[in-house]
Symmetry: C2
Subunit: 229 residues, 2 copies
């Protein structure tokens, strides 16, 4: 029964997501869905990213949490424009939730829309929310065995960010075993190693972002650098 109900829900979800995705495309909005387990550093990544890019391009963040607005507060403090969704128990964002927010922010100029999903390695991967890219975080203390256990999430990701590499000396994280399992699950997956705490690797992330935005927008992220160079 679960499968029948889920298939029905997914079909109407996808139809709705495809509808507003066309609006994104028409308005040159690039939407990025950020997913991970709880506590992998999704909000920390957004905080760092907003500090770096908020004065260069027009960003907006939709925060998804079961309860509360802690993450929205953090994003706002980092200078981001943000809207908090509370799923009230649901383990993931879906197209309906996003579609309810979009009319409220449609007057805003947005180049890059980050959608921070509920912290969960399972359910968010099942629901298409109209994003152009899925960016997934895995933090080093969680261990390198996660692709084997949660293959759907990794197979749906366009970029895998290994966060908290500053903790590598203190945790057991086997990059070789990670790469081995990713070869089976998603050989084409881009991979970056970063620390939101120390800032290591963040330039690679900004470069990834720039190269996945429309050229005229992406160029703005490295404007100053180019002028200096």
């Amino acid at each position: 029964m679960r499968i029948q109900v889920l298939n029905r829900v997914l079909a109407s979800n996808d139809a709705l997501a495809n509808e507003y995705r066309k609006e994104f495309d028409k308005n040159k909005i690039t939407a990025i869905n950020i997913m991970s387990a709880p506590g992998s550093g999704k909000t920390a990544l957004l905080e760092q990213t907003l500090k770096e890019i908020k004065n260069k391009i027009n960003t907006f963040v939709i925060e998804g949490d079961i309860k509360g607005d802690l993450d929205a507060q953090r994003v706002a403090k980092a200078g981001g424009r943000v809207y908090q969704i509370n799923t009230d128990g649901a383990c993931h964002l879906d197209a309906f939730m996003i579609s309810q927010v979009l009319p409220k922010i449609k007057t805003k100029k947005i180049d890059l829309l980050f959608i921070e999903n509920v912290g969960n390695l399972v359910c968010p991967a099942e629901f298409y929310i109209g994003a152009h890219y899925n960016v997934m975080l895995l933090s080093t203390p969680e261990g390198a065995d996660k692709p084997v256990k949660y293959p759907l999430m990794f197979s749906k990701a366009d970029l895998l960010i290994i966060n908290k590499i500053d903790l590598l000396p203190y945790v057991n994280f086997d990059f070789k075993s990670l790469e081995k399992s990713l070869k089976t699950i998603k050989p084409s997956l881009d991979l970056l190693k970063i620390s939101c705490k120390t800032g290591e690797g963040l330039t690679d992330w900004y470069q990834w972002l720039a190269s996945h935005l429309p050229q005229t927008i992406g160029r703005k992220l490295f404007k100053h650098r180019k002028e200096q160079g």
Copy 2:
């Protein structure tokens, strides 16, 4: 619609769980449901625990994972008797899955049955699986803000174990804010601080276990200590 379907599913789930829970009680089996986010250390806790108690009382482990048997392999290597459930996509264990396993292990003598749930801070808390106690792990790198974001899981826990305290010097974990939010969500929640890596705090965990087992069984866990004392 989600809520109607979920209520129907939950009612039949609970009825089934109550049925086999009576069998647990009749056979003096104590069942403990272990829940946490992915990578918080559920399997590491079981590995340590089995090494300590497997020759003192009769234990059995049911492992829940979406895919693969990595955790069952680890438990078996630590000397545990184990059965692996693959949920094939489902984000939690339910009473039906457990009820399918029980006939296969009913000839075994079991005092303590550990059930390691799927790594997920949301869905496992929604499904009663007939356990006497819910033990929840939160690891220090995940951050202390999790009760605010995932209140149902914390409210369903009988014991909260803060794991990976060996990482406290390198991560930002605010015990005061944790305790403050727990006061609202579940003031009666037992709390232990441990490191499965260094072994710190594990004696407290074994004592908690002993005091939550039938007296004749629990006494066996500290038999040697008492004889020495």
